[in-house]
Symmetry: C3
Subunit: 135 residues, 3 copies
């Protein structure tokens, strides 16, 4: 997994994440934090339909658990697989959500001790865009 900053323009910013596996959970907190500016909250958003964002603990054990947990929820035979073999990825990302919204104070994310912002890749490997928007 590599992170490449793209552009920063005033309050708006985006960066890219290259994933390596079909299902993968990647900690992107540091990339979001450096883009946090003035405002009351920071919106992090993936403009994708087979990836999602979550906010929770990140360590190697639970990192693997997330993948198994999410995969289990949507396992099945789906009609969408007739046209594109990634129905599970769509159903899961629809359920999980493509955004997280974090309170901000003095340009700093008000995250709890164990909260990390993570990108959930559900149909990788792919290059994913992450938008960071102060509001």
């Amino acid at each position: 997994m590599r992170l490449r900053p793209s552009w920063v323009s005033g309050l708006n910013s985006e960066f890219f994440v290259e994933t390596k596996k079909r299902v993968e959970v990647i900690d992107i907190t540091a990339e979001v934090e450096k883009r946090a500016g003035s405002g009351n909250a920071c919106l992090v958003f993936v403009p994708h339909a087979t990836a999602a964002l979550i906010l929770n603990e990140f360590e190697p054990n639970i990192q693997e658990d997330y993948g198994e947990f999410f995969s289990r929820i949507a396992k099945g035979e789906w009609k969408h697989d007739r046209i594109d073999n990634n129905a599970e990825a769509h159903l899961l990302s629809a359920l999980i959500s493509p955004s997280v919204l974090v309170p901000v104070e003095n340009k700093r994310l008000q995250l709890g001790t164990w909260q990390r912002i993570m990108l959930v890749e559900l149909d990788g490997p792919r290059k994913r865009k992450v938008l960071v928007r102060m509001i």
Copy 2:
């Protein structure tokens, strides 16, 4: 399914969606887009406890898959059914969420190529209100 614009007042706006089935997924992207104004993000919100909003791909196959996927997650015998026979709809809408938040630039929603905003009816047919709020 019919969409009827209601009122537009400055940054605030709402419209109604009439659903036809018990469980149904309806693409409301066009109705939201025409209400997007100045601001950094667009909040779409349903003031209901048995409907929800998702952001993902919309095509006839996956439209049916959503319904089956969501119904499967909450299938069961629930205490709330003693007083109102719609516990599954409440549990699902609580899990899915009544809102989506989309980044906006130059009054345009920054949606990905495959992202559509959808209302998820879980206890229809009903007339549902959708609030659109720029923030």
Copy 3:
């Protein structure tokens, strides 16, 4: 369950909720409403990785149903339990989300008739912090 107001500073505010059970759903709507101020939306956020927030109906039957429903989704053998016996709580709170975002008009939350804001304790009993932020 007791609620203790903490501090209110301009648009920013927080309060604490003391939970009594391992899994528990608590209506915090009144505490959020009194902190709603000027703005277009109200962000409610828990800075925790084993608690979450939902927006839905609250009554004694469904209150119990939520607990059973959420517990059922994440039941399993997880790697994270080797280091901390609360993997289910992490997986569920990651899926449910630590925030709700409610439209506001004239300093009043635009909640639907049956919508209540609830804290979902998944690894209690604990003292939980809730942030309320106008945006």
